[in-house]
Amino acid sequence: MMIRVLALALLVGLLIAPFVVAEERYIEVSGKTFSYTPGVIKVNEGDVVTIRLTSEDVHHGLFLDGYEVQTKAHPGQDGVITFVADKPGRFTFRCSVTCGEFHPYMVGHLYVEPNSPFNGYAALAVLVALGSLIVMAREGNGDKPAKDKLFGLIDLDWRFDLTSFKPIRTLFKSRWFPLGAILVNLLFFFALLLSMFVGGYSAGNYNVGVMFVWILWWVMLMFILVPFFARTWCMVCPFPLFSDWYHRGAVIEVKPGKQSGLNKPWPKSLKNMWVMNFLFLGTTFFSGFMTVKPLASFILLGAVILASFIVGLVYKKRSFCLYMCPVSGFQALYSQFAMSEIRCKDPEICKGHTPKTCFVGSEEGHGCPWLLTPFDFKKNTYCGMCLECFKTCPHDNMAFNLRPPGVDLLVETKREKRGLDEAWKGFIMLGIAVVFFIIYQGPYGELKDMMRATTYSGFLTFIAIHSTVSLIALPAVFGVFAYLSKLASGNREVSLKRVFVNFSYTLVPMGLGVWIAFSLGILLPNGSYLLHVISDPFAWGWNLLGTANFPWTPVFTDVMGYLQGAVLIVFQLFCIAFGYRLSKQTYPESSEARRGWLPMLCFLTLATLGFLKLFLG
């Protein structure tokens, strides 16, 4: 029996094995701002490939990820690279000589087929989904466990209070923290603003303001700050300093009495993410300018500071931070996944304490500037981690906890409801990732031209498509699966809206995973620019740290695809873990929950496959 099986397997294997003979290939690629023709090249594994680069207009280059060979071409002077395509997968080839404003986005794709990295990860995604079904089936059979453990390993109730270390508690209670960090940030920030202002329309990739904001800070937010430390950026953000100074009448002291300004309450109907959603989406329309022209970034950041101050003149406390700041929006939603939180330690102590100085303030500190009730809030969404509640609590009852990821996704309270605004934020973040990846990291020159507004109609088309994807197309697709979920569950009482909203929280780990993968695609090829800009921040010929002539050097491009795939699979696991729990929260009966989960599992797996295709092949 065994031998027959083996023989059959061998036969099948031989039939499937590709009968490919390595060829010699010669491809002429012509580079023009800002794309290559052809933009997509396909070769077979083992081929000996020669690429001849010609330039149609100015000095261009071609650097091939993964194989790390490169050449350059002037108009009339071609460059040639030759290599053996021994690594399978999709590899980006990029321009290696700054040739104009969109130079960092001048890319093409080389496919070395068969695309086994993509195939492997795709298969893995499917296996993960199927495996999760097996786990789900098994869970139904046993007793309900006392503790809810993520992946059966991590107790979702686990918390570790960082302030149990005395030095940290002392630091958090000092009025110099986080003010000190804010002031240091302020100093760097003004230097960056100056650099962006002075930089004008010069090459963004050699400007410290553009590089620090869009590579260093953005990547740090996605990789470290938000997933691990929730809204810690808000803790040290220098933007609201001027507004706070004005409100409080002092930079560091706590003065009694009402805060300056009109102190209006934010309109109730807008106490959600909708304003931020549209502002953030609107800001991304101009990404094609801000990431390449220093002055455009100056305008954005300057406008944010100005807006935060003017809104502060009119509205209470950190209303701008809560409901308008574009950065705030995605931090708010994604910090629900974060592995840190600020909560009260013992609610009983709070119950017996009046007045609630954490909310109204005291001599030691201000009442929560984020208009939260520190004694009982349960989600990270609107907590900016300013640490005032640590200073105002006379019982030292506030804690900065480390915790497992994703906890807040399962939390819903009367005052901290789930809502369509947060659902749409999830769609917007995913939509932006998809559109930006296709335009920035794809080989389509016409799309890039639309994004950088070579014509008005092109720019408007881009805005229209971009908005439609985020606001209509993705939600519609998701809506179909939500409907299927409700249908499959058999439940009649739960509203479709609730199904839709609840499951939309699976887009939080998905979005975070997608953006971390996206950020890898920014950091690894272009991170080396940071070394140049820290030595010559203003393009004046400085050389502060001796690295002003550090050449553009992509790193780890051979494993970039594998890393991105791994990130997507890891976050797929989170999506499934929390998605299933959300299903159980949505549908009261466990059999309904399991049936209703299946369409959503399909959606999440298809989405993961879609993103794998986007990043890997």
Partner: protein, 281 residues
Amino acid sequence: MMKKNTVIVLSIVLIALFLGLVRYGMQHAWGIPADYEYERVVLKAPFIDKDIDFRGATSLDEWEGIDSKEIKLFYQLMVLPWPKDSVPSVTVKAFHNKKDIYFYLSYKDDTLDEIHGGNTFSDANAIMFPLGEDVPNSTLMMGFMGSSNIWQWKANQDREFWSGKGPGARVYADYYYPFEENETLTVMGLEHVSAVNDIIATGIATLTRKNVSLVEGRGFWIDGTWHVMFRRSLTASDPEVDAAFTPGETYSIAFAVWDGASGDRGGRKSISDFVSLEAGT
């Protein structure tokens, strides 16, 4: 307590200041603001009903009264070695008589150099006609991204052709083809059919002299100035390799000058930017 009006005024002031700052930034976005005016020189080739016989020594007089344009010339710096000095400009005239098109070039040159070979180099000049549409401007410098038809007049060739003598079996050592640094071509015993070489180039190092030169040319060096004339039929016998001219149309052309005394040859030359040639009706 701040009043509502104060808030409004303060907001407006702050926004105005910010916008002012942004405006200043935008005006200096490329450094110190500078106006850019660029107008491509237009050379008109009007219809004039006359013929010029290059055999006659009075042929230069025929050019009196026709409008000229002074075309600035620049160092050719893309390929080493650089010329020692550049010829600053060339004065150009053109007209057509519905059958042929005529060009006239004149520029200062202190010495008459018409011997080519060994260590001396002949004076020369050329007109370049890019063929086809969408020819990138960088054709001018490097290399003929699209194909170009070049009419190159050489002083030594002019002397040999018009004096009725053939070249003999001389070998031209050190002869660099224009635009290509290190390519040497030995030319032996070529029968000159014209003082002007009719050349087609389709890419770097592809300069090919056509077997038949359809272009006639004659040059006179008088008192430190070269006067050189070109003539060719308006129509192209082979549109792929010949420039063609239709009255009413505009074409991009460029000029190059080699000053033999400066050691100009091959890539060492002075070239002009593109000029618009308007063929009159």
